[in-house]
C-alpha cells in the first residue's frame, strides 16, 4: 500500500509530466485559457492515462517483453517483440482516445465543443505516450503499480493545467508588453512554475 502511495506522489509531484519533464506541452498551453475547460481536459487526460497505461502494461508484460510469450507455449520463450512497442502503444492510445471523444460528446457537448480539436489530439499528446514509455522503462512489478502511476501522473497533469489556467485568467487584464501577450507570457509563467515545482525534486521515496 505504501509503495502505491509513493508511486502516486512521485508521478504527481516529483516527476510531474509537465513541470519536470515538459511533456504534453501543446495541449497544455493551448487549452489553459479558462479553468473550466482545462479541468475538462485534465480529467480526459486522467481517463485516457488510466486506461492506456494498464492496457499497455499487460501488452508489455504478456506480449512484448523478451520471453513474455512463454505463457502460450515454451517454444516462444526466446521471442522478443520489444521493437513493436511503439506501434502497439500508439494503437492502444489512439483507440482509447477515440472512445473518450465519443463519451465526452455524449455526456457533455459543451465541453466537447470547448475542447475542439485538442480532444482528438490527446492521441498524439506526448504525456500519454510518455506515460506508457515511462511505465515500460521503470518496469513496474504489477498492474496495481501501473494504475497508481497512471493516477499520479494524470493528477499531476491536471494540477498543472488548472493552476496555469487560473493564473492566465488572473492576468487577463494585466498590462503585459504587446510582444509577449498570449503564448509568450504563458511560456514564461510555465518556466516560473517549473521553479516552484523544484521544491519536490530530490525527495527520495
Amino acid at each position: 500500500m505504501e509503495n502505491l502511495i509513493n508511486i502516486f506522489v512521485k508521478g504527481a509531484f516529483i516527476e510531474n509530466m509537465i513541470l519536470a519533464y515538459f511533456l504534453g506541452m501543446c495541449s497544455y498551453l493551448a487549452v489553459s485559457k479558462t479553468v473550466k475547460t482545462s479541468m475538462g481536459l485534465g480529467f480526459a487526460v486522467i481517463f485516457v492515462l488510466l486506461i492506456t497505461i494498464p492496457v499497455n502494461f499487460l501488452i508489455e508484460n504478456y506480449i512484448l517483453q523478451e520471453g513474455a510469450l512463454s505463457w502460450i507455449s515454451p517454444k516462444l520463450a526466446e521471442v522478443d517483440l520489444g521493437f513493436l512497442s511503439f506501434i502497439l502503444f500508439i494503437a492502444v492510445i489512439a483507440s482509447i482516445v477515440q472512445l473518450t471523444e465519443m463519451i465526452i460528446e455524449k455526456i457533455s457537448p459543451t465541453l466537447y465543443n470547448a475542447l475542439g480539436i485538442f480532444l482528438p489530439l490527446i492521441a498524439v499528446n506526448c504525456a500519454i505516450l510518455g506515460g506508457a514509455l515511462f511505465m515500460q522503462e521503470r518496469a513496474y512489478n504489477n498492474i496495481g503499480e501501473a494504475i497508481s502511476f497512471a493516477m499520479g501522473s494524470g493528477f499531476g497533469w491536471l494540477l498543472a493545467v488548472v493552476g496555469l489556467a487560473a493564473i492566465r485568467e488572473k492576468i487577463r487584464y494585466s498590462n503585459v508588453p504587446p510582444a509577449l501577450r498570449g503564448l509568450g507570457i504563458t511560456f514564461i509563467i510555465v518556466g516560473l512554475m517549473g521553479i516552484a515545482f523544484m521544491s519536490f525534486m530530490g525527495i527520495k521515496l
Binding site: I167, P177, I188, I189, I195, A196, S199, G202
Partner: protein
C-alpha cells in the same frame, strides 16, 4: 514646512520635464522622485472616491519600518558570528559587532535598492508610464534573505531577473504572480548554488577562510538537524533571540515578532495567513514527530518555528498582498498549505536545507486557483439562496 526650499526647487525644474520641455523624455523618472518627496496635489473632482492618508508608498514604508528590528538584529548577529568565528570575544550587543554587521549588510541594501529601482525606472522610461514604487519593500527584503557573503554582482543579476521577468513583464507592481524577493532568492539558489548553500557561507568572511578558528563549523541549526546532530543544536533561547548562523534577517524570531505585531496592528499583513501558516507548520511538525524515523523528524515540532527562515517568511513573504490569495477564506487555505509544505520540504527533501522559499513560490502558483474556487463556491451558495 509648506513651500520649503526643496518644494521651490522641484517646482522650478518641473517645466523642464513636461511634454515639450528640454528633458521631457525623463518625465516618469522625475515624477517618481517628486511623488516620493511630496504628496501629489492632484485630486479627482468628479465621482465618488475615498480620501485616505494611506497610499501605496505609505503602506510600503510601514512594512519597511516593521522590517527594521530584523535589520538591526541581523547586523548585530552578523558581527557577533563573525567575531565568534575568529575566536574573539565580542558581546552580541556591542558597537563593534554592530559596526562590522553594518559595513557588511549595508552594501547589500544599497545594491538591492539601486539595481532594483534602476530596473523599475528603466522599464517605466521605456514603457512611458509612471514609476511603480513596488520595489520599496522588496528592496529591503532581498538583503535580509541572502547569506551575508554573497558577491554583490550576483545579487544584482538576480534582482534584475526577478524584477524584469517576475514583475515588470506581468504589468508591474500589483500584477506579479510570484513574490519578487523570493524569486530573487530562487534564482540565486539555482544559478549559484555554491554561494547559497553549505556551512561556510552564513558567516561574514568565513567563505574566504580568513583566520577562522579550528573547530568552528558555522552550520545553521537546520543543517545540524539535517545531519542528525541534535545534540549540537543551539538552545531554544539562542534560536529565539537570533544568536545563530543564517541568512541576514531571518535569525531573530524576536525581531520578526515585533515586525509581525506592527504589520497586524496597522492591518497591512494578514493575520489569517500568519496564523494558519503557523498552525500548518506546527501540525506537520507534530505529524513528523509521531512518525520519527530519523533524527531530523525528532526535532520538537515547535522548534521548527524558530529555526531557519520559517518565521521571517511567514510574516513578510507569505502575507505579500499581491501574490497571496485575495479572498478571506482563501487566505486560511493558502497559509495552512504553506506551513505544511514548508516543514515537509524542509524535513523530507534532502536536496534543500530549508523549504520555506519553495513552499511559498509553490503556493503562489496555486493562489489564483484557490481564489477561483472560493469565488465559485460563493456564487453557488448565493445562487442557491436566490433560487431556494
Amino acid at each position: 514646512m509648506k513651500n520649503g526650499k526643496l518644494r521651490q526647487f522641484v517646482d522650478k525644474i518641473k517645466p523642464t520635464f513636461d511634454k515639450g520641455g528640454k528633458l521631457g523624455f525623463l518625465k516618469s523618472t522625475f515624477e517618481g522622485f517628486e511623488t516620493f518627496l511630496f504628496v501629489p496635489n492632484t485630486v479627482s473632482l468628479k465621482g465618488s472616491h475615498i480620501r485616505d492618508s494611506i497610499n501605496l508608498k505609505r503602506t510600503m514604508a510601514l512594512v519597511v519600518i516593521a522590517l527594521l528590528p530584523a535589520v538591526l538584529m541581523g547586523m548585530l548577529n552578523t558581527g557577533y558570528q563573525h567575531f565568534l568565528s575568529q575566536g574573539q570575544d565580542v558581546a552580541f550587543w556591542s558597537g563593534q559587532a554592530l559596526w562590522y554587521g553594518f559595513i557588511r549588510v549595508f552594501p547589500l541594501i544599497v545594491v538591492s535598492y539601486i539595481v532594483g529601482l534602476g530596473t523599475e525606472f528603466a522599464v517605466a522610461q521605456v514603457k512611458g508610464h509612471e514609476i511603480n514604487e513596488g520595489f520599496l519593500v522588496s528592496g529591503m527584503l532581498i538583503p535580509l534573505i541572502v547569506p551575508v557573503d554573497i558577491p554583490l554582482w550576483m545579487l544584482a543579476v538576480a534582482i534584475v531577473f526577478a524584477v524584469m521577468i517576475g514583475k515588470e513583464i506581468f504589468g508591474g507592481t500589483g500584477m506579479n504572480i510570484f513574490n519578487v524577493a523570493l524569486l530573487t532568492r530562487a534564482f540565486l539558489f539555482f544559478a549559484y548554488p555554491i554561494f547559497m548553500s553549505g556551512d561556510k557561507i552564513w558567516i561574514g568572511g568565513m567563505f574566504k577562510g580568513e583566520n577562522v578558528v579550528d573547530g568552528f563549523s558555522g552550520a545553521t541549526p537546520l543543517a545540524e538537524a539535517a545531519a542528525g546532530n541534535l545534540d549540537s543544536l543551539p538552545s531554544s533561547m539562542d534560536m529565539f533571540m537570533g544568536y545563530i548562523p543564517g541568512s541576514v534577517g531571518e535569525t531573530s524570531t524576536l525581531a520578526i515578532l515585533i515586525g509581525a505585531f506592527i504589520l497586524i496592528y496597522t492591518g497591512i499583513g494578514s493575520w489569517k495567513i500568519m496564523l494558519s501558516a503557523t498552525v500548518g507548520g506546527l501540525l506537520m511538525g507534530l505529524l513528523l514527530n509521531v512518525f520519527a524515523v530519523n533524527p531530523f523528524m525528532e526535532v520538537p515540532f515547535w522548534q521548527h518555528m524558530i529555526m531557519g527562515g520559517f518565521a521571517f517568511e511567514v510574516v513578510f513573504m507569505a502575507t505579500d498582498p499581491v501574490t497571496a490569495t485575495q479572498t478571506e477564506t482563501g487566505k486560511w487555505i493558502y497559509g495552512f498549505l504553506i506551513g505544511i509544505l514548508a516543514i515537509l520540504v524542509r524535513v523530507i527533501n534532502p536536496a534543500y536545507p530549508e523549504g520555506m522559499m519553495l513552499a511559498i513560490l509553490f503556493m503562489n502558483v496555486f493562489a489564483p486557483l484557490i481564489d477561483y474556487y472560493v469565488v465559485q463556491a460563493n456564487i453557488r451558495k448565493r445562487l442557491k439562496r436566490v433560487t431556494a
